[in-house]
């Protein structure tokens, strides 16, 4: 260790200590001079500025991105809303000002002060919102009394406007005010307290694109809080616009066809997974959520037995019923349990153990092969096929076909459905699998649960010869000038676990459902367009063997759900559809006609866009 004991050593190092000391003297001199400069030379000026507290920030809200349908029809834009705000520091005398204001607006004094109390001391000089979205009449009154109302301002805020009330409400979603946890999470750097963020649907999933960036002014204000001078400005950045894959006119058609029924319709483009329609009924008005939904309206929505707040296309799980026979047929063919020509005899029931499993046709279908069995939806044929394939192999094919797992659509709350296996039952119920249960599974009853979107993705894959697509919601993201910033490419998630040859057999069966002489959906034929599909009638409530019910006597809630899944044209499909009507009874009578109308509307005139609405005022400045 270096020990200083020689004088020569001390000499050279002594200068360095003196140097260090001089540096400190110099820097402190600079700091002191700066203080003199601020406090003595400019002191008067700063004292004046501090007395009026007149340098403030005024925020400029950015406008959120717009949403268009696939043909550039505007679905969501922003309108100016007028908010009544107060700056406490300027509103003097406060009590008189608020009383005067209460008289003009017709609100009680207490209502107006409530938001002030909530804000606390943090916001003494920041504008506080007293009343959101006031009417133009009230706006005129306030403007006229401007000079009697010190510290009261009108702020123009761009506010979300859902143009087509209730249309695709579940798909598009809505906004809600950001909460404290989300603000603290750091995930929303451009959002401030009081701002809204996407809460549901595309508004939520594409928040990062839609959200803009706030700007602001640094301003000097007078004693009454009115702006005298803008010192500095940071321009806001608008959010990006979205072009959806959804077809507005088709969506509206689907919603009107659903009408008062509870249920869902999903239509996909089989060539790329584009979501042409995603309708869920009953719907709700997204405009009700702007500025916070009233608790009365929220309660009404929540307590509605039709579950309007659920997107039934992805959140509701139903037994797939006879639509599932398509899977059973594929599994049977692939596992070589049956082939194109193997036949079973249907006497109207299948005896298994000492129990009779009935066919829906009590008189029996006689001898039929797999194509006939699909066309006529014979239960007995599929009981036997399923029994030979076994529950676990069936589950493997169902899984491979996209059932029992998420489709990967970019929406939150998607449900995976359920495809049972023997291991699953052991785990869930601590009971072994019963062979009889395999029979129920084979015709899509029992534990099986699927969402309408899963069925649409599956039937679309059958139609396009085996490709499973991730449903695509947004085609492109563009800027306010319409320049494309980002295209979203179709995304293949897998292929059906079936050979082209076996798929062709199943496709023939699906075609005969509509076009065969005994097809269950033969009544929906359209001139010139071949439709391939499958009906289904899902039991809500299990009947004991041999028990008879007269449906009309049952309460509507016990009636069966009606399914129809299809694609068209059969040879080169352009659209694939899944329809479910809750308590619609028969797939052929309740669900299939909905699909037919949509196919008719889409294929008659598929590529001609409906009138393109040009909204130059769409981005509110």
């Amino acid at each position: 260790m270096g020990v200083i004991n020689k004088n020569s050593d001390r000499d050279w190092i002594k200068h360095r200590y003196i140097g260090a000391g001089l540096c400190i003297v110099f820097i402190f001199g600079v700091l002191f001079l700066r203080l003199v400069y601020l406090q003595m030379i400019h002191g008067e000026e700063y004292r004046r500025l501090s007395m009026t507290n007149c340098v403030r920030l005024k925020s400029i809200k950015s406008s959120r991105g717009l949403i268009y349908d696939r043909h550039h029809n505007l679905l969501v834009d922003n309108r100016p809303a007028f908010d009544l705000t107060i700056v406490l520091e300027d509103a003097k005398p406060l009590k008189e000002t608020l009383e005067r204001l209460a008289e003009l607006t017709g609100d009680s004094y207490e209502d107006l002060t409530a938001s002030i109390k909530k804000a606390g001391r943090a916001a003494f000089y920041k504008p506080l919102v007293l009343k959101r979205d006031i009417t133009r009449d009230l706006l005129a009154v306030i403007e006229a009394h401007q000079f009697d109302l010190p510290g009261i301002h009108i702020d123009i805020e761009p506010t979300r406007n859902y143009i087509h009330k209730k249309t695709a409400a579940h798909l598009i979603g809505y906004l809600g005010e950001i909460n404290k946890e989300e603000l603290a999470s750091g995930k929303f750097p451009n959002v401030r307290s009081g701002d809204s963020i996407g809460r549901y649907g595309i508004e939520k999933s594409f928040e990062a694109d839609l959200q803009g960036k706030r700007g602001g002014h640094q301003v000097e204000v007078d004693v009454n809080g009115r702006v005298i001078k803008i010192l500095k400005t940071v321009e806001p950045v608008s959010g990006k616009d979205l072009v959806l894959t959804m077809d507005l006119s088709l969506q509206q058609k689907a919603e009107s066809l659903l009408g008062e029924n509870d249920g869902a319709v999903v239509a996909l483009d089989p060539s790329n997974g584009d979501v042409l329609v995603m309708a869920s009924s009953p719907s709700f008005d997204q405009n009700d959520f702007i500025g916070g939904i009233s608790s009365k309206k929220w309660q009404a929505l929540r307590d509605d037995p039709g579950r309007p707040m659920n997107n039934k296309a992805i959140q509701a799980e139903y037994p797939p019923a006879s639509t599932y026979k398509t899977i059973t047929a594929l599994a049977g063919l692939e596992e070589k349990v049956i082939d194109r020509n193997s036949t079973f005899f249907c006497p109207g029931f299948y005896k298994f153990g000492n129990r009779r499993y009935h066919c829906w046709n009590r008189y029996g279908h006689g001898n039929l092969n797999v194509v006939d069995a699909i066309a006529q939806s014979c239960d007995v044929f599929f009981y036997q096929t399923g029994e030979k394939v076994g529950v676990n192999a069936l589950a493997r094919y169902a899984h491979g076909s996209g059932l029992g797992r998420l489709t990967g659509i970019r929406l939150t709350h998607e449900r995976p459905g359920l495809i049972p296996t023997s291991a699953w039952k052991k785990k869930r119920f601590k009971e072994p699998w019963q062979a009889g249960e395999t029979l129920s599974i084979s015709i899509g009853q029992g534990f099986n649960l699927v969402t309408p979107l899963q069925m649409a993705v599956f039937i679309s894959a059958v139609g396009n010869n085996g490709t499973l697509y991730r449903p695509r919601l947004v085609r492109s993201v563009q800027d306010a000038k319409g320049q494309v910033i980002r295209e979203i490419e179709p995304d293949i998630t897998g292929g059906l676990p079936a050979s082209k040859k076996n798929l062709a057999v199943v496709r023939q069966g699906l075609l005969e459902v509509v076009h065969g002489n005994h097809g269950t959906a033969r009544r929906i034929r359209l001139p010139g367009i071949q439709i391939a599909g499958k009906t289904g009638t899902a039991q809500v409530f299990s009947r004991k063997a041999g028990e008879k019910f007269n449906n009309k006597k049952l309460r509507r809630t016990l009636q069966d759900h009606a399914w129809f899944v299809c694609y068209a044209p059969a040879q080169n499909p352009k659209i694939a559809i899944a329809v479910i009507i809750e308590h619609g009874e028969h797939g052929s009578s309740a669900a299939a006609p909905v699909a037919r109308e949509l196919i008719h509307a889409y294929l008659e005139d598929p590529e001609v866009p409906t009138a393109v609405v040009k909204h130059d005022q769409a981005h509110v400045e």
Partner: protein
């Protein structure tokens, strides 16, 4: 065995200066947190700061017990422990304000980068004490110190806390220059550094990173954020004029114009309420503190002790200069607290450890064994 010289050499003046700064600091903090506070009790932040200062005094006294020369022997162990804490912070640290800086141990949150400063100074002082010479340090003498700096800098940089990271390098750099570097080496390193800046600027950085650095250097670029705070801070300071608006009568303070008035911007509260006179008193106290620090360093007969004292003095100097400069609009906006005045436990404890070491060195300055 107890040496009587330990008491006679104890630097009572230094302790007195620390004591006065604490008293002044608490007075300002009281005003900063009480403005607009509704409770009748003392503000909880004020109470907590009193506790921290008391804890700090105990820790400072604790630093007197062991002969500082033991630190030289243990320096690598201390260094390794602090790096370990930084790694732990990186792995399991508490995230606040977008960066992961705190390690939570029971009821206390430790800002580990603060401890690292002291530890690095001890290590550098120890390394330099062996290599110091009138001719200055050559390249080969600088390899070890460079490695010692770069590890903690990297770990603090990824938190990310660029401000503290750069402060660490600044302290290390100043200590190195104090020790004396060969002219040749100084020119080469300086030249290399300067020529690297444009390279990194044009090829190494993305636009948003450049933007952040420019805003850091010039807060006016961000008129709604840092720039606005600086304007409000300057208004607060300037409006204090010669004698101030009086204790608890600051209007800028009362209206919460500044976001961090009890931490980084606390000087503006003093300037507003006590004016130029109040600021002059605080600056004088700080000047005395640094002067006594240099004095301790100068008088120490042990090279390690002398460099350690100088390093700690440099650390305190930069904190004061950066904070005061920032609040007055002379320096970039960095989150560096004002020693013993800003609210905050980690800062109080680190500074008290530093003062303890300085006092320790002053006590044992003749003890060269």
């Amino acid at each position: 065995m107890f040496d009587r010289r330990l008491v006679s050499n104890f630097d009572w003046g230094f302790l007195l200066v620390i004591f006065f700064i604490c008293i002044l600091g608490l007075t300002i903090l009281y005003s900063a947190v009480t403005a607009g506070y509704a409770g009748t009790d003392l503000h909880p932040l004020f109470k907590r700061q009193v506790v921290w200062l008391a804890v700090g005094f105990v820790i400072m006294m604790g630093c007197l017990v062991i002969d500082f020369k033991e630190f030289a022997k243990l320096h690598f162990l201390i260094y390794a422990a602090c790096v370990g804490l930084l790694v732990a912070t990186w792995l399991v640290g508490h995230t606040g304000g977008g960066s992961q800086r705190w390690l939570v141990l029971g009821p206390v949150r430790i800002q580990t980068s603060e401890l690292m400063k002291i530890s690095l100074i001890i290590s550098l002082a120890s390394v330099f004490a062996d290599s110091i010479s009138p001719e200055g340090l050559g390249f080969r003498h600088l390899i070890k110190p460079a490695i010692l700096c770069i590890i903690p800098f990297g770990l603090i940089f990824i938190q990310p806390d660029l401000g503290t990271g750069l402060l660490l390098l600044l302290i290390a750099g100043c200590l190195t220059i104090f020790v004396k570097v060969e002219k040749k080496v100084l020119f080469i390193l300086g030249g290399a550094g300067l020529s690297l800046v444009p390279l990194v600027w044009f090829f190494g950085l993305k636009d948003y990173q450049k933007d952040r650095i420019l805003t850091f250097l010039n807060p006016e670029r961000d008129p709604l954020g840092a720039g606005y705070h600086i304007i409000q801070s300057k208004i607060a300071i300037g409006s204090g004029m010669l004698t101030g608006k009086g204790f608890l009568h600051g209007t800028q303070n009362a209206l919460n114009f500044l976001p961090e008035q009890h931490t980084d911007f606390i000087l503006s509260v003093l300037a507003e309420e006590w004016g130029l006179l109040g600021c002059a008193v605080l600056l004088t106290l700080y000047f005395l503190l640094l002067f006594l620090g240099v004095n301790i360093s100068y008088n120490c007969r042990n090279m390690f002790g002398s460099l350690l004292a100088m390093g700690i003095t440099i650390m305190i100097f930069w904190q004061i200069f950066i904070n005061v400069g920032m609040v007055m609009g002379l320096m970039p906006v960095v989150g560096v607290p004002l020693p013993l005045v800003s609210y905050g436990g980690s800062s109080v404890v680190t500074n008290m450890v530093g003062f303890g070491i300085l006092l320790n060195i002053s006590m044992r300055k003749f003890n060269t064994a």
